[in-house]
Symmetry: C2
Subunit: 239 residues, 2 copies
DNA sequence: CAGTTGACGATTGTTAACAATCTCTGTCAA
DNA sequence: TTGACAGAGATTGTTAACAATCGTCAACTG
């Protein structure tokens, strides 16, 4: 430890020098999910290099991956900016979720044998704990990730990846258009959906989920706008 | 023309030097969709550089993007290989498609006003034309892309992207496990699905699509395997 | 004073050389 | 004959310097 005086970072794979690109991607993903990174925020290469202590190559690879996931937008010769969904994209995201999630929860409630219920019960426990401790950013992130966990419970990695992308995008949308306190989902709706799944009641689960998604969408004000941030080190450096 | 003697390549953006990474991605995507690039085929950087006439940087960016789409797999210090789905992944892909596509065609049949029917009718015409001319690779690609076009008809870019990824993966799977002649979908099933959509008959459209997907999946032999290729220039160089 | 033009600084894109790793081949010994 | 080992060659990963582009700001002109 004493040989590395001022390096508190811990990477996923740190044989030669610093964290790898997946670590950077995860950090930025997490910051977006917790709505600490606002849309339009500029992610300059130099800034990220010193924040993560890596060369430009790693940063550029991470940015390319993030842009392929739609989390950031790469503008030629201008840099990388956190994606800023417009009204149309917001509608598309919710339309896509309305298409996928109802059959998804139906399937979860119908095939109790094939799915990983522990993943879901554990997640609900985490949500409750975060709410108890009033950890705002944690609550926001877990609230979105519940839906990703629904997908993960199927054990199907393609469904998981699709949901993750849609949920991330939703987080940006809620950050942009969300009205004050509805940044996170209402307290018990997730838990009720899980209960319906556990009761093998596809109709109820689907109905609860649809009204839950409608609830989120209704809480948006398509006129509101947030301002971009600038203190990247503080945002991305924290755990 | 005469100033460029031996350069027949035409790039999407060729101001400084050669095609950009999206062009390379599209070429490889197309080759995979036409089953000219078999799973496990090695895509070496040097080979791609001379094939497309670009520097390593462009190629590496293209490979990273392709790997993020699951089309290829990057092995550390070993290179890039065309993805080789196993039995589990094959099942996941079909499960995901069974989850998404039925509600998708339902929606297409229900909301005739919001969707782009011309896209679909045009695609069916292309399929027929290719079949008439017996252009095997074209038939295979269009046969897969019909399902992508279904998604595009919604005008929702998230749904389109998800379907594109699933269809590409399906192409690899069919190439690996497909039994001889069922590489492409049966001639008229696509056209029948389109007719059901045009008739605003969600139930029929869904039923036809489900049996169509089952048809494809039943045509797979999970034991068969194909061999990797080696003549990249010939495969990727052609139009 | 308004608008335009030019140069400077900052940031991104590209290239080429270097380092690290892996594969293949040939040799040697059991 | 088979196995392990070592070295050469080839391929990928990384770095740093260079080139190109963009935004800003000051000076200039009408």
């Amino acid at each position: 430890m004493s040989s590395k005086p001022q390096q508190s970072r811990q990477a996923t794979s740190d044989p030669t020098g610093g964290p790898d690109e997946n670590f950077i991607v995860e950090r930025i993903y997490k910051a977006v999910m917790e709505q600490r990174l606002a849309p339009k925020t500029k992610l300059s290469e130099a800034r990220l290099c010193e924040t993560f202590g890596v060369g430009r190559m790693r940063v550029r690879r991470a940015l390319l991956l993030l842009s392929s996931q739609g989390i950031i937008e790469l503008q030629s010769n201008r840099g990388a900016y956190v994606a800023c969904p417009d009204k149309t994209e917001a509608n598309d995201v919710f339309a896509a979720r309305m298409l996928i999630e109802p059959p998804l929860v139906r399937q979860l409630a119908q095939n109790p044998g094939d799915i990983d219920l522990a993943l879901l019960t554990n997640h609900i426990a985490l949500e409750d704990a975060a709410r108890g401790k009033k950890e705002r950013t944690e609550i926001i992130r877990l609230s979105g990730e519940f839906h990703t966990t629904l997908a993960q419970a199927t054990g199907n990695k393609f469904i998981s990846r699709m949901m993750r992308e849609l949920v991330t995008r939703t987080s940006l949308i809620v950050g942009l258009f969300g009205t004050s306190e509805n940044a996170s989902c209402p307290d018990d709706e997730h838990s009720n959906i899980l209960k319906a799944i556990q009761s093998h009641d596809p109709d109820l689960a689907e109905k609860l989920l649809i009204s839950h998604l409608n609830h989120i969408q209704r809480g948006l004000d398509m006129e509101a706008r947030q301002e971009p941030q600038d203190d990247l080190a503080a945002i991305l450096g924290s755990d």
